[in-house]
Symmetry: C2
Subunit: 360 residues, 2 copies
């Protein structure tokens, strides 16, 4: 096998794979990358057992062949090469990597022992890649990284005819985004960590989804992925979204984020970073108190609803997370001082967060 | 006490102090900052017991007074404030911090218990601040962060009539830079970590040094510092600098850095990151070998000297560190395959590094 490839395209492809492939593993084969040289170029693939990924790097190939190399080492060598063109040559079990004045010889691994990675080629649903990426990253924060219950470490994807919805919750708060997408009805839960990788890989254009048994296939023009799905029932989150809104407050999301961050400096870390929200007479007063003193901030707001005033305590971090994806004006919808509150973009926008106030 | 000050200047001053003052300490007073409001403005000062630092922040003051506040908390509050102007007001033991819609009330600490920090006002030597900063940062890498012998964790400063010299060594390698500076002859050793802070604070203009008992006073227009000096005898480093040069090799420092980094990817981390340097016939061949394969790189060089060829093994990291401060062409002066080698900028420049080759 001989391949000629530009350093830039090969580096980019290896960069995508490098994020998935573990740099250490009790099974050293999993730290390797499989390279299949064929008429289309170099097909690079790898897995972390949760997520399989493959991508094509255009290259000029002679004598097609496949091999397995240590992924991170190979990527590091290619990244450091001088010049623009890289030459790869496989002779026996040795891979030569050449560019300008450099030559590297790498031992290849056991191709036969490398796990078989298969990627579906048909599509059950077609979505806008940027919409899916944006939606997954808007709700990602609400998924837990360490919750014991697997579903809290995942993001639920619901496809319903004309719309799709992604939902995440760690049991204490919830984030949801809805967007237009056509496809057959389906509910599944992707591990949040796999969603992170998906977001990094998705760009413009379309993404095609394939629903398998416990597996979601994802294809874009550049890459193919298989994400292992999470088992279990996602909680009935609709029940948590309050319907009986007593007070709605509208103000600039940026101003609110700044004021909450400011006051939260004094909030007690051992008391859930508690910040008081007091609404009355067109003003929102934020206050926090801790070991070293107290801080407060007053913001002008637009208020509406049956209740003329309300006081609620929130974990500052949860409020900042909930406001994260909101640009322009934010709307806070309060159903009572100890009932769940909604944070959303003013107007519509598809994104909505639910945060439960702290008890007194 | 009442003070009006711009958020920008106060933040900058606090930022300098924050780097010195520990965020945690068995003596909580050390995590505090002393503020003296006087006719010149706010004099902020703090210490980590190795280094005392004070800086003046211009401000409009009424009813001068002094107080002590938690340094990092105060800095964080000021950084997060909205608007451009900050108002400080001390009433009793409570400091109010006000800006646009915000108000913070902080408990101040025990002023009487705060250590007395005194800064000298006369100067024993005057140096260019940028030259001193550049020189200290050029040699910093060669000082150790954890060596048992204190002098190896320091940077020696030698003042000799018309020139000053800074030298650092961890016992395995040495770095030195000489520059013009007028002052009385003096030798002292600054802790490398204090030198790091000094480098961050030094800008343009002049720096005035005051030689105290076990203490170096440092004054610029913005700040005053006292650095506790290290005791002990710095090794006789002149002995290590080879005089009998058998082969001199000149090439682009950047090209050499890149080639060493490239080849070093394959070097064995458990064998000192060994990279072979083979010089002959106007070429430098770099080679490394590890568990996964081997790499080599060939560079055109200019060579001179009594020996037509030489092979040496170096720790790649030490070579990269030594080349770090060199721009343009680098000169490597070899005295033998197992004798110390010099790395310096071609021509002069005042900087010089000594690296000992690895044994075969």
């Amino acid at each position: 096998m001989q391949a000629h490839v530009t350093k830039k395209t090969l580096s980019e492809g290896l960069g995508i794979l490098e994020r998935i492939i573990p740099s250490r593993s009790s099974n050293p084969l999993l730290t390797a990358l499989k390279v299949e040289a064929n008429e289309r170029g170099l097909l690079l693939s790898g897995t972390n057992l949760e997520l399989d990924l493959s991508c094509v790097v255009p290259a000029e190939i002679q004598n097609p062949a496949s091999f397995v190399v240590p992924a991170h080492l190979f990527a590091q060598i290619v990244r450091n090469l001088g010049g623009e063109l890289v030459e790869l040559e496989l002779s026996g079990s040795e891979l030569s990597v050449r560019a300008s004045g450099s030559e590297f010889k790498l031992q290849t691994g056991d191709l036969a022992a490398y796990p078989e990675l298969e990627f579906p080629s048909h599509a059950d649903a077609t979505l806008s890649a940027s919409e899916l990426a944006r939606s997954l990253s808007s709700v990602r924060y609400a998924a837990s990284n360490e919750a014991f219950q697997a579903v809290f470490r995942g993001i639920k994807v619901e496809q319903n005819g004309q719309t799709a919805r992604v939902v995440a919750s760690d049991g204490f708060r919830l984030a949801l985004r809805e967007f237009s997408a056509v496809g057959e009805a389906r509910n599944l839960i992707i591990p949040a960590r796999s969603a992170d990788e998906l977001v990094r890989v998705l760009r413009d254009g379309e993404v095609r989804l394939t629903y398998g048994e416990g597996i979601l296939g994802i294809q874009t023009d550049r890459v193919r992925m298989n994400a292992k799905l999470l088992d279990g029932d996602f909680p009935d989150y609709e029940r948590v979204i309050p319907r009986d809104i007593k007070l709605t407050v509208t103000l600039s999301a940026a101003a609110l984020k700044e004021a909450v961050s400011r006051v939260a400096v004094l909030a007690d870390k051992n008391a859930n970073n508690r910040v008081e929200f007091q609404v009355s007479e067109g003003k929102l007063r934020l206050a926090a108190e801790g070991d070293y003193g107290r801080g407060q901030d007053t913001l002008e707001v637009q208020q509406e609803g049956t209740e003329p005033a309300m006081s609620l305590g929130f974990n500052a971090k949860y409020v900042l997370d909930a406001l994260g994806p909101i640009e322009g004006d934010a709307e806070m919808r309060f159903s009572g001082p100890t009932s769940p509150a909604i944070f959303k973009a003013s107007g519509d926008g598809g994104y909505l967060a639910v945060v439960v106030p702290l008890r007194v």
